[in-house]
């Protein structure tokens, strides 16, 4: 089962995840997004990409290979504080 957590401090209630999710997992509740149907999540992580504040966390999602990220960029990403 996929567990979804929303960082409530980071979330600014823009509702983009609600609009974007193909499975209708999220709903806006008093300006904070809430995952009301995590059982329908298929792990595409489109919500991660569309959230301007990176407020979403998924547990139990299989990560895909991302070899299009070059090693130089990958190293830089790991070293940004």
């Amino acid at each position: 089962m996929i567990e979804i957590r929303v960082d409530e401090e980071a979330c600014n209630g823009c509702g983009l995840c609600v609009k974007d999710c193909p499975m209708g997992v999220f709903e806006l509740k008093s300006s904070v997004s809430s995952p009301v149907h995590p059982e329908n999540c298929m792990g595409c992580l489109s919500c991660h990409e569309i959230c301007p504040a990176q407020a979403l966390e998924h547990r139990g999602v299989v990560p895909c290979r991302r070899m299009y990220v070059s090693m130089k960029v990958c190293r830089m990403l790991n070293r940004v504080i």
Partner: protein, 305 residues
Amino acid sequence: MKIAIEELAGCSGCTIAVLDLHEMILDVIEQAEIVYSPVIMDVKEPPEGIDIAFVTGAVRNAENEERLKTIRARANTLVALGTCAVYGGISGLSMLSSREDLFNYVYREVDTVPPDGTIPTDVPPFLYRAFAVGDKVKVDYFIPGCPPKENRLRQILPAMMAGDRVSLSRKSVCSECDRIMGPIENWTLKRRFEGEPDREYCLLGQGYLCLGPVTFCGCEAACPAKNVPCHGCNGPSLDILREPCRDIFNMTVRRISDLTDRPEKEVAAELYDVAHTMYPFTMGSQVMEDKEISKIRELIKEGNR
């Protein structure tokens, strides 16, 4: 422990940012000795055996490159401090004009030039382009910021000296901003001086060009907290740094388009002076330019014509 703060093509603001630790600097110099920092002390050459070298400023001329290679060889750990060092920063904006235009303007056209208007030739020559520090040498850590803010440095620097790990947020400025999304109707792009922004609601939704969603965090959204739209001085957010299909311009257009339900072409048509509004802090960075969809290469080509 020996630390050094090298200054390449920068404004020295990042060295001053280290001094902005205020009283905490006393704890720092108790643990570590600053052995070389041209901005704040009179030592001419970095010595051997430096433990942590902070390099600030971009690599723009031959002297910058030489000094960078020297300090990389003499330091154990190299930290690129500040947006100029990490992404080319404001020093990278110099790529928008050709070398001739730049030198002409600075040495002949500015009000304060001497009447004979000679362009000096006994200075280190410009490299053909600006570079971020990471494009030239191996960097161990990157701390972006223009300059990196006190609160963040207070958490990073003492831990770095002590060899501890820190776990700081690596999200975007939006995650630190306390605004919520307001109602969005009749969106048009507003310049900063037009109208007065509502303090409670998202600046991007109100029509201002706030680069919060595409900018790395660390400043606690200091500018939006004072009703000023974010200018992106912390460099791009990590998702933009990572994805070759994302860059500051196309993500800003996409975010606005998603929020306002306007087609991306319409949104892009309203944006102006992309070089200075979107890319002022990332022009020197090869990593940011290497993206197929980046507009940096065409902007530089246009500017140099």
